[in-house]
């Protein structure tokens, strides 16, 4: 697999993992102690998070097995943008303008790093 493809796939899977985790824990009352943790373990969303997280980590390994870590690691910050978009679509979250500005700054940085290969 092309290392850059592995990197983008890792970022998207990692972002999906965050969305699944939020769906899994979003309405849990964790103050309930052991019982609610058990509910978490039984939650399909939490399992989806675990599986996505595992594969995201695996694909990250595939990416950095041949890429420079000073190149690949900061590119991971594209994940902030992907999570923001997915959270609007799947969690109906509202992303404030100030956060879009921050994400735009990150995107400029990512573009600079991307060009530096």
């Amino acid at each position: 697999m092309n290392p850059l493809t592995a990197l983008w796939l890792s970022i998207v899977l990692g972002a999906c993992a965050q969305i699944f985790l939020k769906r899994g824990v979003g309405h849990q009352q964790l103050a309930g102690g052991a019982h609610s943790y058990l509910t978490l373990v039984r939650s399909g969303w939490v399992w989806a998070w675990g599986i996505c997280f595992l594969f995201a980590t695996g694909l990250w390994m595939v990416a950095i097995s041949t890429m420079q870590v000073s190149y690949a690691f900061p590119l991971l910050s594209v994940g902030y943008l992907v999570v923001a978009v997915l959270s609007i679509v799947f969690l109906k979250e509202r992303v404030p303008a100030s956060r879009w500005v921050a994400i735009a700054v990150i995107a400029v940085g990512v573009a600079l790093i991307f060009r530096s290969q």
Binding site: G58, S65, V69, Y71, P74, A102, I103, V105, G109
Partner: protein, 149 residues
């Protein structure tokens, strides 16, 4: 000038030193989390890099499974996990809005690791990009107060 001078009230010195100790602990935890997190990534890189075990013909799942079993990669994952535990401690002591921008430092430590552990050449353009990403990550926190959930 101050009515609460340490000469008049020596117990203030004790209070101050306790406060320093308390603050030092979360500072060390936050710093440790950033350093361990970065070192974890670098060890993972060490575990999966190099030609000896890069088998191109294998399936993707087999290749990933193979990487997860590399000793240095496993150590990297464990150290990364330890860093996460330290981070959770730091977060329990200070507001996340104060601590979060510190995570941007990871981009510098990982890049320096790439330079000195793996001999990567980092161009001025890449450093600039890393700096801009760090500013953006730190800026994310400005919008945190607008969150209601």
């Amino acid at each position: 000038m101050s009515t609460n001078s340490i000469v008049e009230k020596p117990e203030l010195l004790l209070q101050a030193s306790t406060a320093v100790k308390k603050s030092a602990l979360w500072q060390w935890a936050a710093l440790g989390a950033i350093l361990l997190g970065s070192f974890g990534h670098l060890l993972i890189k060490l575990g999966v890099t190099g030609g000896a075990h890069n088998i191109g013909g294998e399936s993707l799942v087999a290749r990933i499974g193979h990487y997860f079993l590399q000793p240095a990669a496993l150590a990297g994952l464990a150290i990364y996990g330890a860093g996460t535990l330290l981070w959770i401690y730091a977060v329990s002591q200070r507001n996340i809005s104060f601590l979060y921008p510190l995570t941007a430092l990871t981009y510098v430590t990982v890049a320096l690791g790439g330079k000195f552990m793996f001999g990567e050449t980092i161009s001025a353009e890449r450093w600039l990009g890393i700096g801009v990403v760090m500013i953006g990550v730190a800026m994310l926190q400005f919008s945190a107060k607008e969150d209601r959930s």
